[in-house]
């Protein structure tokens, strides 16, 4: 880390651009591999032909209606969750923050679940409404955690925030279980797979529902990266630099919650992306947000896409939800971070 900090800003910028470029190429490669992977196998040449409009009817269906939207969604929610984690880590000054650990994903999930359980059939649930509902759930959860962790005179400590998040998450899971068990078996199966992060909303409607959130919130966070650099320093320093700490922090928190909520609404409960993305990015280009955020988004997108591709191809007849694969990768990494952390 130390040598990173000594790098010149210009050097770091170049490095960041190079790495984002590299990850872009990687992403493209995985994208192509992922397009070929699945129960119905299509060779790369056939993919190419189909993309140019010369595919058979079945190839068109599989590629354009099933795989492509699903992969675009993977990329979007990967970026969204990772950036959300970066913001939470920055404003809470705690490297272990992640929308999953803090219970925000669970809150979004509960809201979506409430909605789904009132619908007789899941296909009827309008995709455009889901992110808003998820946002409501996630927002209420975030507010609840914030107030419960707040203590007069001490503000919020990272320790208390994490413990409060875990506790609130446990409470929400308990409520979710009560609700889930009253569903009929068909909805039940759907909800269980959804909770594991199955990227269920895999059609163009969901892409359209998710896209505006990402288009607005990702650039907003990037635009605020200098503010986040200051916020991630000590409170007295950032206050001394004339920043309206509370206002800025609240706005960024809202953006992080929005990113997590819209991702959860479409992808289901995918944990650890918000943890892995920023950490990997930080290790490569250092902690400054203007360089780290684009890379965070790229790493997150790659993670979810790889997770989904593995999940689709690992077992012959069924698929393992992407969230499960990612938690198998992310859990050990969290443990590694935890073992290195001072607290």
């Amino acid at each position: 880390m130390n040598s990173d900090i000594l790098l010149h800003s210009q050097k770091r910028k170049n490095r960041s651009i190079k790495l984002v470029f590299l990850f872009g190429i990687l992403l493209l490669l995985v994208f192509i591999i992922s397009l070929n992977t699945g129960r119905y196998s299509i060779t790369p040449i056939e993919v190419w032909h189909t993309l140019l409009g010369a595919g058979t009817k079945k190839q068109n269906l599989v590629l354009f209606e099933l795989r492509l939207p699903r992969m675009i969604i993977s990329v979007l929610i990967g970026a969204g969750l990772a950036v959300s984690g970066a913001v939470l880590q920055g404003i809470s000054r705690n490297g272990l923050s992640d929308p999953g650990i803090l219970g925000i994903n669970a809150g979004a999930g509960l809201a979506v679940l409430l909605f789904v359980s009132m619908y007789p059939s899941t296909s009827l649930a309008p995709p455009f409404l889901m992110p808003f509902l998820a946002l409501l759930g996630a927002g209420l959860t975030a507010i609840l955690i914030y107030f419960l962790a707040y203590k007069k005179g001490q503000g919020i400590t990272a320790t208390r925030l994490l413990l409060t998040g875990i506790a609130v998450g446990a409470g929400i899971s308990a409520a979710t279980v009560i609700l889930v068990l009253q569903l009929n078996p068909r909805n039940f199966e759907f909800v269980v797979t959804w909770q594991m992060g199955s990227l269920w909303g895999a059609n163009w409607k969901f892409v359209l529902a998710l896209l505006p959130w990402m288009i607005i919130l990702l650039p907003y966070v990037y635009w605020k990266s200098k503010t986040m650099n200051i916020l991630s320093m000590n409170e007295p320093i950032s206050g001394g630099l004339g920043l309206e700490i509370h206002k800025e922090r609240l706005a960024l928190l809202a953006a992080a919650v929005g990113l997590a909520a819209s991702s959860v609404a479409t992808g289901g409960g995918i944990g650890f992306v918000g943890l892995l993305g920023p950490h990997i990015a930080r290790r490569m280009v250092g902690p400054e947000h203007q360089y780290m955020l684009p890379l965070t988004a790229a790493v997150g997108a790659l993670l979810v896409l790889v997770g989904d591709t593995i999940g689709r191809s690992i077992v012959a007849n069924t698929e393992v939800p992407a969230g499960v694969i990612i938690s198998l990768l992310g859990g050990p990494y969290f443990i590694y971070l935890l073992m290195r952390a001072k607290a």
């Binding site: 999953g100 320790t159 409470g171 269980v192 499960v324 938690s327």
Partner: protein, 346 residues
């Protein structure tokens, strides 16, 4: 010495009278609670029928059959697992001087559940007598993972925060694996209820297999209780008083494995019992584990029996999972601890 669980400046206090009172009243409440639990349910059954079904069993009477085959084993299983989870929690809190120790929070339940899913997936015909042994191993695996993560951390201090975070992550990874396995092997629906604490499926056979293990575990906990009291004063103190602390801890860990493993194999992973009960008991009877352990067992039993009556009635005719009912009590308690003991957590 920084994370001293008991306030070092306070004199060591115990109130045996209070403890006796808890044990006597608690036992009475358990007996009546079991009675109340038996009459509660979708089929309406009177106390008189319960009495008759126990002393003049009539296999042609539907109500008698319901009582004997469903309600009685369920109520007894509740009392047993409540005692087991509460004593496990008390022992973990005492041995590691960590106020936020609980089998659910520190990965013990998750480990047992995970190994049970493995067993269900690969040896679906295995008999319960053997399943319970796997559950012990799983409990040990989960606890071992969480504690070794905390132990091998930088600085090597097992802070409560580290343990809770490690427990949360080990729990979520193991749950993810269990879910994936259950999806692949199509053991989904029953498993979800069971992993959230499904006491409604407890049968006589399970109770009879679990009973000896839990009795042995509780007796062993009583035998260890004096050593745990000393250990809870600090490892240095215990070593200074000539205690073989490693031996005590190893024995304690085995007891926790047995108690938790047996409970999880019957009702699934129920969290927070081991967190709430010992704290309340310690508040009432003081810091002597010779009293804390029996009182925790009694109050744990009371808690689960009452919560189970709630689980049957809250959303009748649906069953609410026991784990969710207890979490509703446990989460605020956890939050309270997270706020209160700030200094001692990091």
């Amino acid at each position: 010495m920084s994370n001293f669980q008991l306030k070092a400046d306070a004199p060591i206090r115990t109130s045996p009278w209070m403890a006796m009172l808890i044990i006597i009243i608690g036992t009475v409440v358990i007996v009546f609670g079991i009675g109340a639990s038996i009459v509660t349910g979708v089929a309406n059954i009177s106390f008189g029928t319960v009495w008759a079904s126990i002393f003049h069993f009539d296999s042609n009477n539907d109500h008698h059959v319901i009582i004997q085959s469903l309600r009685l084993p369920r109520a007894l299983a509740g009392a047993l697992v409540g005692a087991a989870f509460a004593v496990s929690g008390a022992m973990m809190q005492g041995m590691t001087r960590n106020p936020i120790a609980d089998t659910g929070l520190l990965g013990v339940n998750a480990g047992a559940s995970f190994v049970l899913v493995l067993v269900f997936a690969f040896f679906p015909s295995l008999s319960f007598e053997y399943i319970i042994l796997f559950s012990f191993i799983g409990a040990g695996l989960g606890a071992g993972l969480v504690y070794s993560i905390a132990y091998f951390s930088k600085g090597g201090r097992m802070t409560p925060l580290r343990l809770v975070l490690a427990g949360a992550v080990v729990g979520s990874v193991l749950t993810g694996l269990s879910q994936a396995l259950s999806l692949l092997f199509q053991i989904n629906y029953d498993l979800a209820f069971w992993s959230a604490g499904g006491i409604s499926t407890a049968e006589w056979f399970q109770v009879s297999v679990m009973l000896p293990w839990i009795i042995v575990g509780l007796l062993a906990a009583m035998i260890l209780s004096r050593s745990i009291t000393i250990l809870s004063l600090g490892e240095d103190v215990a070593a200074g008083l000539g205690q073989r602390t490693k031996w005590t801890k190893a024995m304690g860990a085995i007891v926790v494995m047995i108690l938790t493993g047996a409970s999880v194999s019957t009702v699934g992973g129920v969290a927070f019992i081991g967190l709430i009960v010992p704290h309340i008991v310690r508040f009432l009877v003081g810091v002597d584990y010779r009293w804390i352990i029996p009182c925790s067992a009694i109050m744990g039993g009371v808690l689960v029996i009452l919560a189970d009556i709630g689980a049957k009635t809250v959303a009748m005719p649906y069953e609410t999972p026991l784990g969710s009912i207890i979490a509703i009590l446990g989460v605020p308690f956890f939050l309270y601890l997270a706020r209160k003991e700030r200094r001692e957590l990091t």
